[in-house]
């Protein structure tokens, strides 16, 4: 709305381009529409979270009253404490954290190294190996799930953290992501380092890796989201609620007939909280990163 002052500048300098881009905003009316639609839509998007918070602080009777209780008579903070009696929350949280941390670290190490080699090193069979790795991206996870289960079972890893973590240490997507990142970097830096007598590992570690930081953070973000939220694999390899991560733990809690809704709300809020807080803190980086990678 303040852009009325910047009328079409004749030159095509960078600021002028900005001015041109901003011109349609002159009509204040379009902003009102945008705020109404985005604000209204945003409220709808946020409503389930708000409702979840309200329900988590209500009594079970209030949750189940036919005319909704929009605000509990008394805030029931006790519901949050009750979570720990109702499910092995801490051990599930522990599993979720380790599962995520280990996968993120392993993928960063393995995918940056392989991605770098596929992008910049020469060795026989490179094209074929790359092709095979990338072809996995097209296969839905059900196709390898049964067999992964067999492997984990044969190793005696059912109901263990290592069993839940193992297949996710390796990522074809991450390799693809990192290869693209390294492909787009200038060759000159490597050349200079090579002339200085650096070996391939030093070049990778000291020069290329720091440059790849933006893509590494995209990899870390996607892996974190997926590891924290994923349900099917952890559900398949863990049968005891103590060894499950939170995603599976919450899902199996649902079966009970006489459910204590407020406690479930509190539990699911606490389960989501770490990732949601991380997202809100790093929002710009997360959104821009995902938008640029354009992939989940």
């Amino acid at each position: 709305m303040t852009d009325t002052l910047i009328e079409a500048a004749p030159t095509v300098s960078a600021p002028a381009a900005v001015a041109v881009r901003r011109r349609p905003a002159r009509r204040g009316g379009s902003h009102v529409v945008a705020h109404i639609v985005l604000g209204g839509g945003g409220l709808l998007m946020a409503f389930p979270f708000v409702w979840q918070i309200i329900m988590s602080l209500s009594t079970n009777a209030e949750v189940q009253s036919v005319v909704p209780t929009f605000w509990p008579a008394e805030l029931q903070w006790q519901n949050y404490a009750d979570v720990f009696d109702r499910m092995p929350f801490l051990s599930q949280l522990n599993t979720s954290i380790w599962l995520t941390v280990i996968r993120v670290l392993a993928q960063i190490v393995l995918c940056t190294m392989a991605g770098y080699a596929f992008a910049r090193m020469r060795f026989s069979g490179r094209a074929i190996l790359l092709g095979i790795t990338l072809s996995i991206l097209m296969v839905p996870s059900q196709v390898y799930l049964i067999s992964q289960y067999q492997i984990v079972q044969n190793f005696g890893w059912l109901d263990t953290l290592i069993g839940i973590v193992a297949p996710g240490l390796f990522s074809a997507f991450g390799t693809f992501l990192m290869r693209t990142a390294f492909l787009n970097m200038p060759l000159e830096l490597e050349e200079a380092a090579r002339l200085d007598g650096a070996n391939p590992f030093q070049i990778f570690w000291k020069i290329m890796l720091p440059l790849a930081r933006p893509s590494i953070s995209v990899l870390a973000i996607t892996t974190t989201l997926w590891s924290w939220n994923e349900l099917l694999w952890p559900l398949v390899v863990s049968t005891y609620s103590e060894t499950m991560p939170l995603s599976a733990g919450l899902a199996t809690l649902v079966g009970d007939k006489n459910t204590d809704y407020p406690v479930m709300m509190a539990a699911s809020l606490m389960a989501m909280a770490p990732v949601l807080i991380l997202f809100i803190v790093l929002q710009r980086r997360v959104i821009d990163g995902l938008a640029s990678s354009g992939l989940k």
């Binding site: 985005l38 409702w51 909704p68 049964i146 939220n229 899902a251 199996t252 079966g255 959104i287």
Partner: protein, 313 residues
């Protein structure tokens, strides 16, 4: 790894090589040090399992382990199984509903890109929040919202004189409920991708359109949408593939013991229930291969069809 014959010349395919160096340098053992840890894992946990599942799909599993080769039996049984078609129908219905989010996302993204819009990043966060939230955790609150007796959705419906159904326990409505949540959680992702695509449209085009007296709506349909088609296509592919993978939301929203499940299964749920609840792993392997095939066909069709509407210049 054993395929490499050392005499093969390095291909000119390697990106941005200095011409003089093309065939010269090799990196000795270093590349293997870099790729083998990953390739070992990929081979063990992905490649081998894919081959094995393909084999499993032709076998029947005994109760005490061990499997016997039964040829095409699983596939014959599968194609005669009405559950396959019901699961496929449900998955298609779910996908169709979630895809209606794309036009909405195009419109919302164009609003979000309004130059100089205040609170734009706040709106971005609001719309993106459902995408990062754990599906099983948000499904919990949606169960309450959809509850037939005390859910706020039916309460709101009753205010306008509609007697809401038992969403999560009525066939048909159950899938609709899952799809609404799916739409809610995927909208933000589509919006962000599309908003990034919008940034690449040269502002001069809007300028020109405006000089020609195009209304904002006309500018939207004649400039924004045609130039955005590559991003729209990308979102379409990603959303379709991930919708075909529906499992988490369904499992968490309907619950594993819900009597409505046999009629509201998705393909992946069908796979899961056969392979890991009924423990019929040979049959489940056949289901997995069919899911693979269906997704492949749908994706190929989309790529074929894109030439008609995607602007790739």
């Amino acid at each position: 790894m054993t395929t490499g014959s050392t005499i093969r010349p390095a291909r000119a395919k390697a990106p941005r090589l200095n011409p003089g160096r093309a065939a010269a340098r090799r990196d000795g053992f270093w590349p293997w040090l870099f790729v083998l840890p990953l390739l070992g894992g990929i081979g063990l946990f992905y490649l081998w399992p894919i081959i094995q599942t393909f084999y499993f799909s032709f076998t029947e599993w005994g109760v005490f382990g061990g499997n016997t080769f039964t040829g095409l039996d699983n596939y014959v049984r599968l194609f005669a199984d009405s559950q396959l078609y019901s699961a496929l129908g449900n998955t298609l219905l779910y996908t169709a509903i979630v895809l209606t989010g794309i036009p909405i996302a195009v419109y919302l993204a164009s609003l979000l890109n309004t130059p100089g819009l205040r609170f734009a990043s706040f709106y971005r966060v609001l719309f993106f929040l459902p995408y990062v939230a754990m599906p099983t955790a948000v499904a919990m609150v949606w169960r309450i919202i959809f509850n037939g007796d005390f859910g706020i959705l039916n309460y709101v419906l009753s205010l306008v004189g509609i007697d809401g159904p038992y969403w999560t326990s009525t066939p048909g409505f159950a899938m609709l409920a899952v799809a609404i949540v799916g739409l809610w959680s995927s909208l933000g992702f589509s919006m962000i991708i599309l908003a990034a695509g919008l940034k690449n449209i040269p502002p001069e085009l809007y300028e020109a359109a405006e000089l020609d007296g195009a209304t904002p709506w006309r500018r939207f349909t004649s400039v924004t949408v045609p130039l955005l088609t590559p991003s729209i296509f990308f979102v379409l592919i990603i959303t379709t593939i991930s919708s075909f993978q529906l499992f988490d939301l369904l499992y968490a929203l309907l619950g594993s013991s819900n009597p409505v499940l046999p009629k509201s299964m998705s393909l992946v749920y069908f796979f899961y229930s056969q392979g890991f609840v009924s423990n019929d792993k040979g049959y489940a392997a056949a289901i997995a291969m069919v899911i693979f095939l269906i997704i492949g066909v749908v994706t190929v069709l989309q790529f074929r069809f894109q030439k008609r509407w995607v602007n790739n210049d």
